[in-house]
């Protein structure tokens, strides 16, 4: 990894009012890797993820520190969130397709940012995106159907697909499988594995087995602090911090 990291976080602290949700977090995410964020509820992992594309822009939230992602200085007030979110896509816990056709869902972002894109280019990008998430063969004959008519698993893949026509560099996942059954979970995990390398992925999960299965490196957070960050295999077999060891052994959290 001789390139600059895709995500560079330095001394990031965040307060919700008087409550300190992140304490001086420092980490890098390398290009193309899958970074897992684990920890008990309320440890700040989702808060950290939401900082990465400025979803925490609220009057009662105060943030300090440095945060660079996909070349954007996220903390700078002059950074345009419209461009940031074009390059840094977010996938949520509950699949949230828009109540429009599958085709329009996939092309929604593209049309927002590049409304004059030719029909041919749009179709090509839509097909490419659906192929990348392995939905094309299933859906190519019913692209006009409503996005909400799909199974939960397909909906979640659709939500991933609609990020892709704009060629983002970083994908953020906030517990992407917790609304899915085991088969759906396996399918989305498989998809994330195939996207590895092409996109930098940061995954928040409360499912330790999932973090172990899909992440290259993994960070354990506790009460707003980054306790330990290591190669996933190392973190789960030889954690260096006692608190990590206790959490992954299931003794709390």
């Amino acid at each position: 990894m001789n390139e600059a990291p895709a995500v560079r976080i330095r001394g990031l602290s965040l307060w919700y009012g008087a409550f300190r949700a992140l304490e001086h977090v420092t980490m890098d995410v390398h290009r193309g890797e899958i970074m897992g964020l684990i920890g008990p509820s309320g440890c700040g992992k989702s808060t950290l993820l939401r900082c990465l594309n400025r979803l925490n822009d609220q009057p009662y939230v105060r943030i300090e520190g440095d945060l660079t992602i996909a070349g954007y200085d996220v903390m700078s007030p002059t950074t345009d969130t419209l461009a940031l979110r074009r390059d840094v896509g977010m996938v949520f816990q509950r699949p949230n397709p828009l109540p429009i056709s599958i085709r329009d869902n996939v092309l929604f972002g593209l049309r927002l940012h590049a409304p004059k894109t030719s029909k041919a280019e749009q179709e090509a990008r839509m097909e490419g995106a659906l192929r990348e998430v392995m939905l094309w063969d299933d859906l190519k004959d019913r692209l006009h159907h409503d996005g909400e008519s799909l199974s939960l698993e397909a909906r979640q893949k659709l939500c991933i697909a609609r990020l892709l026509p704009l060629k983002p560099t970083v994908l953020l996942f906030d517990e992407p499988c917790s609304a899915l059954d085991p088969a759906g979970t396996a399918a989305v995990e498989e998809l994330m594995r195939t996207l590895r390398g092409t996109y930098t992925q940061v995954v928040v999960t409360h499912n330790m087995q999932q973090a172990r299965r899909i992440s290259d490196r993994c960070a354990f957070m506790l009460m707003g602090e980054l306790v330990e960050l290591d190669d996933t295999a190392q973190l789960f077999t030889h954690p260096s911090d006692e608190r990590t060891a206790r959490y992954i052994e299931g003794r709390f959290g």
Binding site: A83, R85, R86, M90, F92, R94, N96, P99, F108, L112
Partner: protein, 294 residues
């Protein structure tokens, strides 16, 4: 069932079933009490007015001191008045509702404006009429005209259109907005592509109610646009015009020797015109709602 558990004071099942039956009966009675008078009114008017209904009633000018002939100018006048009021109140009302829902936030000022609009919806129509007389007829010097009358009706209907637009916008699930923002949509793009299309059926409901009100209210047009007797068709918004609501009022209270049936027939036509407006809007709303599922 744990009827065998003697530690709990279990209520006998027949008591609960009987109570359920009573509540069901009370609710059914309530809807009957609401529906029967409404139906009775419509049937009574139809029964009394039917003898006077003929093709000529729709196509002829009133004659012989309004005791004979048709009511064409009143029908046309009502269409003009409602049309002008909608042209004014629908765009402004929807845009204002969008602003209050999506841009205004929860500041003290925004809440104040909100409350003022809700209260304005409850102002009696005669007060709107006086406002229209002062503002449009006299101050802006539009005279007694379709324009003044339509604008007065528009002002009267504006609060409900704003309020229902705002409510419809806010009932669109928040997850849609989040999905849009995360694809880099601006606030307006989010509104235009997702929130507004999904709010349209609800917005139309508000508009439908106000169309009926515009067509039916007499007071707002009394001083501002409606003529007592004017057997010509209006050709521009600067003309005065007859109006159905006003015509019913005139026939019933002001003109001697009008046949009973003519009065009821005029009221029946007013009902019919409102029904036409409403059915158009209801068909449109049903069409827009087809693929909504919440």
């Amino acid at each position: 069932m744990s009827d065998g558990d003697t530690r709990l004071p279990i209520e006998p099942l027949e008591v609960r079933h009987r109570r359920e039956g009573l509540v069901h009966l009370a609710l059914t009675a309530a809807i009957a009490l609401a529906a029967v008078p409404a139906l009775a009114i419509v049937l009574f008017i139809a029964y009394k007015g039917a003898p006077a209904i003929s093709l000529g009633f729709f196509t002829e000018m009133p004659m012989a001191g309004m005791t004979q002939g048709g009511i064409l100018p009143a029908i046309v006048g009502t269409l003009w008045l409602v049309g002008v009021s909608l042209l004014f109140s629908v765009p402004i009302g929807i845009l204002a509702g969008v602003y209050l829902s999506e841009y205004a936030g929860r500041s003290l000022l925004a809440r104040g404006v909100d409350m003022a609009i809700v209260n304005l919806a409850g102002v009696p129509s005669i007060v709107h009429a006086l406002f229209g007389l002062g503002a449009f007829v006299l101050f802006l010097d539009f005279g007694t005209s379709i324009l003044s009358g339509g604008l007065t009706l528009g002002v009267m209907t504006l609060p409900v259109i704003i309020t229902s637009t705002k409510a419809a916008m806010q009932s669109v699930p928040h997850t849609f907005r989040v999905a849009c923002w995360n694809l880099g949509a601006t606030r307006w793009q989010t509104i235009w592509h997702v929130v507004l299309p999904n709010a349209l059926p609800g917005i139309l409901t508000g508009v439908i109610l106000q169309v009926s009100r515009s067509a039916g209210e007499t007071a707002p047009v009394l001083f501002t646009g409606a003529a007592f007797y004017l057997p010509i068709l209006p050709t521009s918004v600067w003309n005065q015009t007859m109006a159905l609501s006003m015509h019913v009022y005139a026939l019933v209270t002001q003109v001697p020797k009008v046949p009973e049936a003519t009065k009821y027939a005029t009221a029946l036509v007013l009902l019919g015109v409102v029904l036409c407006f409403n059915s158009f809007a209801i068909v449109l709303r049903t069409y827009l709602r087809r693929n909504r599922r919440w």
